[in-house]
């Protein structure tokens, strides 16, 4: 329901109209874990999330090309995002406990998924929560869009949990070129 479709403006409705107005500045992301750090990618780049299945390795590929899987009859390429972003691998975590985030086909032109440690939630943030300046110092290759300050309750205190918002298109642009 929007403010334009209603003749009478009641208090709750007014609130909602404000929310919808603000929606122009908000965006939705999918939060996931790599190691201990929180990452996020644009929700519209995501197709679906699936459980881990056995990966078939391909010979003579780049180190972050994990291999391929059979997803409901379609061959899907799996990218090890940790390897791609140079995040050190933890010894006690196995790939089997991870998830695949299957990406939208528009991005790469071929069916592609990324291997992450866990998928947490679909979240809505506002542009105001993002701090783009704090990524200064990271190289161009980092492809970080910004740092999202997510309010989380830690016991009684409200603390800002930092979520690294990456540009998955930029990150996987090499693959696109290759494909």
């Amino acid at each position: 329901m929007t403010a334009e479709s209603s003749g009478t403006v009641t208090a709750p409705l007014l609130e909602r109209s404000k929310v919808s107005a603000r929606q122009q500045d908000s965006f939705q992301v999918l939060e996931f874990l790599l190691g201990k750090e929180h990452f996020a990618i644009d929700l519209f780049d995501v197709r679906e999330v699936v459980e881990y299945t056995t990966i078939t390795k391909l010979p003579n590929t780049l180190p972050y090309m994990k291999g391929i899987i059979d997803l409901r009859g379609e061959i899907t390429t799996i990218i090890d995002l940790k390897e791609r972003l140079h995040i050190p691998r933890e010894e006690d975590r196995s790939d089997e406990s991870g998830r695949f985030i299957v990406l939208d086909e528009k991005l790469t032109g071929a069916k592609t998924g990324i291997l992450v440690d866990d998928v947490l939630a679909v979240s809505t943030f506002e542009k105001g929560d993002v701090d783009a300046a704090s990524t200064a110092g990271a190289g161009d290759d980092a492809a970080i869009l910004g740092i999202i300050k997510k309010r989380a309750k830690d016991k009684e205190n409200t603390v800002n949990e930092l979520v690294i918002w990456i540009d998955i298109r930029e990150t996987l642009s090499h693959i696109k070129k290759r494909v």
């Binding site: 999918l30 519209f44 995501v46 998830r99 939630a121 679909v122």
Partner: protein
């Protein structure tokens, strides 16, 4: 204060008067000082109070006159020129007096009032001058207004008058204060004078008393000293230690008393005690005390020497020596002549008595006192008794001679008999002591046997006693081992019970473990389902988001589903953790039960061994008990026979001791008699010797 005692009397008196005069001058000075202070106060009062009051009075009267004149000036125009000059004169007079007043030192209150006056005085002057100008100009209204009640001019006049009166009042009070102060000062000055006079009088009386006492006291003491000497008490000394005339007098008196006591009285005392050694020297030709005393000493010394010579000669037996009486006079001559006469009367009878005694001493009792020598008094008795000694001794000696002859014969006979008795008794004594020695040896032997028997008996009794103790201990031990055995059997039964219970526990724990495993499986399944649901919810959320506004409702549902899935997963994880914990504890329980079982088994085996050991102990103890009983019986038998032997030995010992005692008695008796006989022999021999000597002695006398 000894320096006062040492002063001459004249100087002392003049000094006392001088001190009193000084005190009087001091009192006069105190009075003079106080009078000066009072005069100062009077002057101050005149300067500070009387003069200002006078000035203020003049100012006051001038002001009053001016106020009157101003009215006149206003309403009587023809008098104006005269009054104007009068007013100006008054103003000048007031200013002059005011300057004279303020030229002094003012108090704070005065200053305040003075300021008020000055301010109002200025206003008043201006008011007057303005008023006079207005009057000249015939401005009646202005004049009336200025003279009306409450106008600035009248206000200023009132204020100025008020200030002047206040100043007068202040000065009056000041004067009163000064007056009071003067009164107080006069009173205190009077008091000071009174006190100073009193002190002076007391000091003068004190000095007079002290001086009088310092002169009359010593005079009294000197008088007492002279009275003492007159009454023969010469040991007292005045010892005044003063250097004035009285002190010299007292010293001379002391010196006279000392000399008299030391030389004259001392010499008298020495003579009285028989000491004539003091040699005195006259002080000069006029000395009348020493020469007679010296003469007395010399005469006494000569008499003493003469009588000493006589007595020394008598002591040495020189009876022919006589004293020289002619060198003395009076009583002294009589002393020496009497001594000579005494010697003459004693010497003749003594010489005769000496001759007779000499013959007696040589054993010649036939000598007699010569009748031709004349004797008197006590000497007659002396002569008769000397003669009687000679006669009686001669007679007695004749009797003794005869008796001694008889005694010699009897002693000879007694000696022969005693020697015979002595020989017999010696033989008896020798035999008796032989018997005694043998009997003692026998007794010693028997005593040794007896001691040995007693030792044996005691040892056997010890064996018997100890055997009994051992038997009792063995009995106790048997009882204890039986009890131990019973306890061990009971313990074994307990052990079996424990084993059974722990087996049951083991089985139950196993069953619990199985159940746990099943629960674990179920929990895993739940976790799996929750994960799946979570994933589905995520995908639903993604789909909903991609669908845009159309999928918004669905997105809410997907979020709810996701949170449910997360909660179920958390619950399942908690259950899983609990189950893990339980399983761990169960495993611990199983371990504990297993180790308990092992312990019980080991305990059981040990108990078995203990039981068999106890059985063996009981058997051994029985054997020991039997042996000990046998030993005890044997020891008792032995003890009985030893006691019999001991009794027999005792009897023998008694008999032997009797024998010894009798033999010893006999020997002692014969020794005693032997000793008695020896004594008798000695006595008889002595008698013989005495008789021989007696015979010889008696034969020497002539009768």
């Amino acid at each position: 204060m000894s320096f006062i005692d040492d002063m001459k009397i004249g100087r002392k008196l003049i000094g006392g008067f001088l001190i009193v005069t000084l005190i009087l001058i001091l009192v006069a000075m105190v009075g003079y000082t106080n009078i000066g202070t009072i005069a100062d106060h009077s002057k101050k009062m005149y300067n500070d109070c009387t003069v200002p009051i006078e000035k203020i009075g003049i100012i006051d009267s001038n002001l009053e006159r001016m106020q009157g004149n101003i009215y006149k000036y206003a309403y009587v125009p023809e008098s104006r020129p005269a009054i104007e000059s009068a007013i100006e004169g008054d103003i000048a007079a007031v200013n002059k007096e005011w300057d004279a007043y303020t030229g002094r030192q003012l108090t704070v209150n005065e200053k305040k009032q003075a300021d008020a006056f000055e301010k109002n005085w200025l206003l008043l002057q201006q008011g007057y001058r303005q008023l006079m100008k207005d009057a000249k100009a015939n401005d009646k209204n202005a004049v009336n207004t200025a003279l009306a009640r409450g106008s600035p001019v009248s206000e200023a006049f009132n204020a100025a008058m008020g200030a002047v009166e206040a100043i007068a009042e202040i000065n009056l009070q000041k004067a009163k204060a000064l007056d009071d102060e003067s009164d107080a000062l006069a009173a205190s000055a009077g008091m000071t004078m009174l006190i100073a006079t009193l002190i002076a009088v007391i000091a003068a009386i004190g000095i007079a008393l002290y001086l009088a006492k310092s002169i009359t006291g010593p005079v009294e003491r000197v008088k007492q000293g002279i009275t003492d000497i007159h009454q023969g008490r010469v040991s007292n000394r005045l010892n005044m230690n003063r250097k004035d005339e009285l002190g010299e007098m007292a010293d001379t008196l002391d010196k006279f008393a000392s000399d008299f006591q030391k030389y004259i009285l001392g010499t008298m005392v020495m003579i009285a005690e028989g000491d004539f050694s003091r040699n005195l020297k006259p002080r000069d030709d006029k000395d009348e005390i020493v020469p007679p005393v010296k003469k007395v000493i010399e005469t006494l010394r000569a008499v003493n020497e003469e009588s000493n010579k006589l007595s020394r000669a008598a002591v040495e037996g020189k009876l022919s020596v006589r004293g020289n009486a002619d060198q003395f006079k009076g009583g002294y001559w009589e002393i020496i002549a009497g001594l000579n006469k005494t010697m003459d009367n004693v010497v003749a009878p003594l010489n005769e008595a000496m001759r007779v005694s000499g013959q007696y001493a040589n054993g010649d009792f036939t000598a007699r006192f010569n009748d031709k020598i004349k004797v008197n008094g006590d000497f007659k008795k002396f002569r008769d008794e000397l003669n009687e000694i000679g006669e009686k001794v001669a007679k007695a000696l004749q009797g003794i001679n005869q008796q001694v002859g008889d005694l010699a014969a009897s002693a000879e006979e007694a000696n022969a008999s005693v020697e015979e008795v002595s020989a017999g008794s010696a033989q008896v004594a020798k035999n008796a002591s032989g018997v005694s020695i043998n009997a003692e040896k026998a007794t010693q032997g028997i005593e040794q046997v007896q001691k040995a028997m007693e030792d044996l008996s005691r040892t056997i009794q010890d064996v018997a006693t100890k055997s009994e103790v051992v038997a009792k201990i063995v009995q106790d031990t048997t009882n204890f081992s039986r009890e131990g055995m019973e306890l061990a059997q009971k313990t074994e039964q307990g052990m079996q019970g424990i084993t059974k219970s722990s087996n049951d526990v083991n089985q139950i724990i196993g069953e619990i473990k199985d159940q746990m495993d099943k629960i674990s499986e179920i929990v895993n399944l739940i976790t799996d389902l929750a994960n799946q649901t979570n994933l589905l919810a995520l995908n639903a959320a993604i789909e909903a988001a991609r669908a845009g506004d159309a999928g918004r409702g669905f997105a809410v549902v997907a979020t709810e589903v996701k949170s449910l899935a997360v909660e179920s997963r958390a619950s399942a994880e908690r259950i899983s953790a609990m189950i893990d914990n339980l399983q761990k504890q169960t495993l611990n329980a199983v371990d504990a039960v297993t180790s308990a079982n092992t312990g019980v088994r080991e305990g059981s085996e040990a108990l078995h061994e203990t039981l068999s050991s106890f059985t063996r102990i009981v058997a051994s103890i029985d054997k020991i008990s039997q042996n000990v009983s046998e030993v005890a019986a044997a020891a008792e038998e032995q003890a009985a026979s030893v006691q019999e032997v001991t009794a027999s030995v005792h009897e023998v010992n008694g008999l032997m001791q009797n024998t010894t005692r009798e033999a010893t008695d006999a020997a002692a008796a014969s020794e005693e008699s032997s000793a008695a006989i020896d004594q008798i022999t000695k006595v008889v021999a002595n008698v013989n010797t005495i008789v021989d000597k007696l015979t010889k002695e008696v034969s020497r006398f002539k009768v």
